[in-house]
């Protein structure tokens, strides 16, 4: 681990200001240390050797004669002020740095194409499942024992599809997720993950600066006073990081092994806890207590073996630091006896010698806290360094949409997610049909630019779609997904989905779109009509109502191309009929491509394009 990742300076500019402030404060801190040591050493010497009264002692500060006690109070107050400023600076900078990293992270994730890899989607589901009561919806375990067991279920596509929670996912994998990280991971990272940087800024970085700064300043003050002591410190000080690095290198491999072992052992613990009801049914639960004890003991023995070496680095640090101070103390004592040194200087050396080692020891003590923060930062950097897709610049043209030998494969998954040759003529309504997993949604995602074909291409009016300016191209499309996302804002916002640049959509237009989608009626029954703020992801609205909000979006967009992704899949027959009526109104006079499963949708189409079955092993 690098003590200071240069990328932190690059991506979070607030770090630079903070470093500068810390260097200044560190310098003042070192000067105050010297001032305090000088005042104490002189005062002790005067009282002890010269029999002076403490109240009578004076010292010269900037040419003014000041009582020693007043000077000491001033120095102590100044030290407290520096400590306070340092904490304030670190807290303020940590907040600023976190904000800068967070904003960059989110902007970058948003700029990456929405990732339709189903594995990501399911991770998202897993993440959501975490806060769901164990008894709700999802394939639960009858035993009712909540454990990681159930969450893990979401991670792998299983043959029987039971892990697909609450019918949220089309088997094609609705386009969700974010770049290289699953949505849940980005959420965790943007929230608590980055908070780990607090300790890095508050405890580690300042000490790192002090470790470089303080010894130099202290030694330059001691240099004229006592060459021998300075020599001792100057020789031993660099040995500390050297030995620590050596021990660190030795223990790193061991640590990694240890980590694997630890995760295996705690995995076993969680595994048996997950199966506790089963063990109980077979009368084997109580006996497991002994096994848990045995495994836990084994874990302790292995861990202790690693720690014996790992703690060596702090042993080296403590040993060198303390022993050096002891050597310096004995040395000055002996030189005092022989009269080569005066007491004030000796006391000054004695007070300052441990201070030279202190920042380095603090760095060692806060190493782990900092590692956590840097790890979080590195995850952010990894996302930021994911290259963005190259975007086309051409203005989109209208014309027939041609899937020309289009193939889509997802990395890490065997099989082809989509294979399609088809032409959709302008004004035609085409239904893509086929069983779950045949790539119906993927075909729509390709048109939306969420997915790039692995082979083949899509042309529109003879122009390859990828050459279009993506935003302008998407403006020509109205998309109604199987499960539209509703945002935690007003109904108006959810229909208008403002782009933040254009003027706000006039209210009557939104109402007209809602009327066309058959949403106006129920929206007006909400407590605050169009101003009603929806709960997270549209809680409080039924599936049919959500679908009609999404249709209102599509009406408002008034685009020549309409993509419908099984818009009635989650609806009961009655609601589906109402939604179908709105869909018929929407389809009139537009080019429509429908991922269709249900007969009423297929009936709407002029033409049906069946997709080949089971390209992706389910």
């Amino acid at each position: 681990m690098k003590p200071l990742d240069p990328r932190l300076l690059r991506y979070a500019r607030a770090t630079r200001t903070y470093l500068a402030a810390t260097v200044v404060l560190g310098g003042i801190h070192a000067v105050l240390l010297i001032a305090q040591a000088v005042l104490l050493a002189d005062a002790i010497t005067a009282v002890f050797l010269d029999g002076a009264g403490i109240g009578d002692l004076t010292t010269g500060i900037l040419g003014f004669t000041t009582p020693v006690l007043v000077a000491l109070v001033a120095v102590i107050a100044a030290k407290a002020a520096v400590a306070w400023l340092q904490e304030v600076a670190s807290a303020r900078s940590a907040a600023a740095v976190k904000s800068q990293l967070r904003n960059r992270l989110l902007a970058h994730v948003a700029a990456l194409a929405p990732h339709p890899d189903p594995i990501n989607t399911e991770k998202r589901d897993k993440e959501e499942g975490i806060d769901r009561p164990l008894t709700e919806g999802k394939a639960g375990n009858t035993a009712g024992l909540p454990t990681e067991a159930k969450e893990k279920d979401g991670e792998r596509p299983s043959a029987d599809g039971k892990t697909r929670g609450a019918g949220q996912l089309s088997a094609d994998g609705e386009a969700r997720g974010a770049g290289r990280l699953a949505a849940g991971e980005v959420v965790a990272l943007a929230g608590d993950g980055l908070d780990a940087l607090d300790d890095y800024f508050a405890k580690y970085l300042p000490q790192l600066v002090l470790a470089v700064l303080v010894p130099g300043i202290l030694l330059s003050r001691l240099l004229p006073a006592d060459l021998v002591a300075v020599g001792t410190i100057a020789v031993t000080l660099p040995l500390i990081p050297l030995f620590m690095a050596l021990v660190g290198m030795h223990t790193e491999a061991q640590n990694r092994r240890q980590f694997r072992l630890l995760s295996r052992l705690s995995h076993h613990f969680l595994d048996v806890v997950a199966g506790l009801p089963t063990l109980k049914l077979f009368g084997r639960a109580r006996a497991q207590a002994g096994i848990i004890r045995r495994i836990s003991d084994e874990q302790r023995r292995h861990t202790m073996r690693t720690l014996r070496t790992a703690f060596l680095s702090s042993l080296v640090l403590e040993l060198l630091a303390t022993l050096s101070v002891a050597l310096v103390a004995v040395g000055i004592g002996l030189r005092l006896v022989s009269g080569n040194l005066d007491l004030a200087t000796a006391l000054l050396v004695l007070i300052l010698a441990p201070e030279a080692y202190r920042p380095l020891r603090e760095v060692g003590a806060h190493f782990h806290a900092s590692a956590e923060g840097l790890a979080a930062a590195e995850e952010v950097f990894a996302v930021l360094e994911t290259p963005l897709p190259v975007l086309g610049k051409r203005a989109p043209v209208s014309g027939d949409i041609v899937f020309d030998g289009v193939e889509v494969r997802f990395p890490g998954r065997s099989g082809t997610a989509l294979r399609l040759d088809a032409t959709i003529r302008t004004g035609e309504i085409v239904a893509l049909t086929g069983p779950s997993g045949c790539g119906k949604s993927t075909a729509l995602n390709v048109l939306l630019g969420f997915v790039s074909p692995t082979a083949g291409r899509v042309t529109v009016g003879g122009v390859p779609q990828q050459e279009f300016d993506l935003e302008a191209w998407r403006r020509r499309i109205a998309w109604v997904p199987q499960r539209p996302h509703l945002f935690a804002s007003s109904v108006y916002d959810n229909i208008a989905l403002p782009d933040g640049l254009a003027a706000p959509v006039p209210f009557p237009e939104v109402v007209a779109a809602a009327q066309a989608a058959g949403a106006d009626g129920f929206v007006r029954e909400l407590p605050e009509s169009y101003s009603t703020v929806l709960g997270d992801d549209g809680t409080g609205l039924s599936a049919g109502q959500r679908q009609r909000i999404a249709l209102a979006r599509a009406f408002l967009r008034d685009a020549p191309i309409v993509l419908l992704d099984e818009p009635t899949a989650n609806l009961d027959a009655g609601t589906a009929a109402e939604v179908m009526a709105a869909i018929r109104r929407l389809a009139a006079g537009r080019t429509v491509l429908i991922a269709a499963h249900r007969p009423e949708l297929i009936a709407l189409a002029d033409r049906v394009v069946p997709l080949t079955e089971n390209l992706v092993p389910a």
Binding site: Q36, A43, I44, T45, V47, F48, I54, I76, A83, W84, E87, V88, A91, A95, A96, S99, R102, V109, P116, P133, T135, N141, A143, G144, K150, K152, D153, D160, A166, G167, R176, V186, V187, S266, V273, K280, G283, A289, R293, D297, Q299, M304, L307, R308, L312, E318, L319, A321, T322, A329, G333, L347, A365, G449, R474, L486, A488, L497, D499, R557
Partner: protein
């Protein structure tokens, strides 16, 4: 069958709130997790660690004190021989500190890991008593956290809270005594300053943190909601070109959060300032009081440096205490969460004294008090549920006045909509739960009179999602009957119609099933669980939604095989399916 169209059976206890219904038995709070009870099993080692820590910290303080005295004494130019003791002491301190600290950390961690083992075992024992009915009120993720993070918090508690406070306490007291004997006022000042750092600063910090949290928490929540909204709605936003607007809104929330945390930074630094002031005050008080004492002749001048410099060394030991106090606040929350498991009432009231009997009975089948095993097969008891009202611990009533008869060898289906309490009936029959009213009987004998383990030996239960363990097929099967031969296992697999498949596997019975059996398909997992059930002695088999989430063809085949494999045994099929030919049907509403 589409996944979304079929509502899965609601889980027992869905959406329950912890009830106000008084449990008829006092919670077993005596065994709860307190710091005292944690330390006990490793008290010896922990004392050794504290001793080593006191030695290490003492060496650091003594190094400063001895050096101060050595130098002061040396300034009077005595013969070097008179200084030898001090010189040796200083060198010894310099050497021993690192070594003792190493020892403290090693022994301390060893003790902490021993305590961790103990907590895990205690937690297991408790969970074993509660699961699954007693845990219905806990959220899944919550319990996982208890098991992982909260248990691990014990490590932090021991090594980073208990040890530092114990060591700093001893060293602080000793220093105050030494300084106080020489110069009482200086000793008093040191004591006050130490108390401020060890107790006052933590209180101050907690108050500051609470104030900041009060202002920050709503903003954090708003930001988190916004981030989740952005990421999950990204496709919708991208398709409608609304991403930038969302990002701008988030940035505005972020700016408010950042601004607020920057403003609370001022209070965050107070702890550090007070610590620095206290240290300075103790040193200053030592200097003034010491100088006065030297002048009045009550303190030899050569001890003045010791009085002044000792506080500097002591505060190096005390400085980490505010951080330790913060960790204590976190660890306490973990301990409280663990303790809740002890405050949850037991789902069944088994007389603990009957437990050994049950265990003994298990070892010696012939002596088992349950229905005896005949020569020609198994005696199949008649099970009756008579006017039973029951609910999951603490929650609402799940079933009310339910009657059900399972004649010996009968085939009964229990059907009803989601949430009608079907799984509750199963839990009653295996004595995961006792009824509140009415009774459940086995051959006329109330289940409450039969040890739970014994009931479960007769009544086998195949839950909707029976657990498989991350080990081999063979080991998973042997949970049903430890010591079963491979031939037995194969026979069970054959009955579950899984043998042909297992034979095709290169590793056969030694094939790993993966975490929670994820290497197998859903149908295979259920058949393996069935084979495991068939290996046991169970004479009454409960199949809970055995075909849930399976496609129609697989489901029909599995149901056929279940009935065939059950043979002479009684079968209770819990289902919401409608093709129930050949079954006596009981409906729940």
């Amino acid at each position: 069958m589409t996944v979304s169209a079929v509502p899965s059976d609601r889980h027992p206890g869905a959406g329950m709130v912890i009830s106000t219904v008084a449990p008829d038995r006092r919670p077993d709070s005596g065994a709860a997790i307190s710091v005292g009870s944690l330390i006990r099993p490793a008290a010896g080692r922990l004392s050794l660690a504290v001793l080593a820590g006191v030695g290490a910290a003492g060496a650091a303080v003594a190094l400063t004190a001895c050096s101060a005295w050595l130098i002061s004494r040396a300034a009077l130019h005595p013969p070097v021989l008179h200084l030898m003791v001090a010189i040796v002491a200083v060198r010894a301190c310099g050497l021993s500190r690192g070594v003792l600290r190493y020892l403290e950390r090693l022994v301390g961690h060893d003790a902490a890991f021993r305590i961790l083992t103990d907590v895990r075992v205690r937690l297991w024992t408790r969970l074993e008593r509660l699961a699954p009915a007693g845990l219905a009120d806990f959220r899944r993720a919550d319990l996982a956290r208890r098991l992982a993070a909260d248990v691990d918090a014990v490590l932090d508690l021991i090594t980073r809270v208990v040890l530092p406070y114990a060591v700093a306490g001893v060293i602080g007291l000793a220093s105050v005594l030494v300084v106080g004997v020489l110069v009482p006022v200086a000793g008093l000042a040191l004591a006050v300053a130490l108390l401020v750092v060890g107790a006052g600063v933590p209180v101050l910090q907690r108050a500051a943190a609470r104030r900041a949290d009060g202002r920050l928490a709503p903003l954090r929540a708003e930001l988190a909601t916004g981030v989740v909204d952005l990421l999950h709605g990204l496709p919708d936003l991208a398709a409608y070109g609304a991403t930038r607007d969302r990002l701008d809104r988030l940035a505005a929330v972020d700016a408010r959060l950042t601004d607020t945390s920057r403003r609370s930074a001022a209070t965050a630094g107070l702890g550090a300032a007070v610590t620095a002031l206290s240290t300075g005050a103790a040193v200053l008080a030592g200097l003034v009081a010491g100088a006065v004492a030297v002048r009045s002749g009550s303190l030899p001048g050569e001890l003045l440096a010791l009085i002044v410099l000792t506080p500097l060394a002591v505060f190096e030991i005390a400085a980490p205490l505010p951080t330790a106090a913060q960790r204590w606040a976190t660890a306490r929350v973990s301990l409280r969460r663990l303790t809740e498991l002890w405050q949850t009432p037991d789902p069944i009231h088994d007389d603990p004294s009957s437990t050994p009997t049950a265990a003994a009975a298990r070892k010696n089948d012939d002596a088992s008090p349950g229905p005896a095993r005949g020569n020609s097969g198994l005696a199949v008891p008649e099970m009756r549920v008579d006017g039973v009202t029951a609910g999951w611990v603490g929650g609402r009533t799940a079933i009310n006045g339910v009657d059900l008869v399972l004649p010996s060898g009968g085939r009964v289906a229990l059907v009803g909509p989601s949430g009608s309490g079907k799984s509750t009936v199963a839990a009653l029959l295996v004595r995961f739960l006792d009824p509140r009213e009415g009774r459940v009987t086995m051959d006329g004998r109330d289940l409450r009179e039969i040890p739970a383990d014994e009931v479960r030996r007769v009544v086998g239960y195949l839950p909707e999602d029976s657990s498989l363990f991350d080990t081999t097929i063979g080991d998973n099967l042997r949970i049903g009957r430890p010591g079963a031969s491979d031939t037995d296992l194969r026979e069970a697999l054959r009955q579950a119609r899984l043998l042909d498949w297992v034979e095709t596997l290169p590793d056969g019975l030694d094939t790993l099933v993966g975490e929670h059996g994820m290497a197998l398909s859903g149908g295979q997992r259920r058949r393996l669980a069935l084979a495991r059930l068939l290996l046991g002695d169970a004479r009454v088999l409960i199949f809970d939604e055995p075909t849930e989430h399976l496609d129609d063809e697989t489901a029909a085949a599995l149901t056929r095989d279940l009935m065939a494999a059950a043979g002479e045994r009684t079968v209770l099929l819990i289902t919401h399916r409608t093709d129930l030919t050949g079954l006596a049907v009981t409906r729940l509403r």
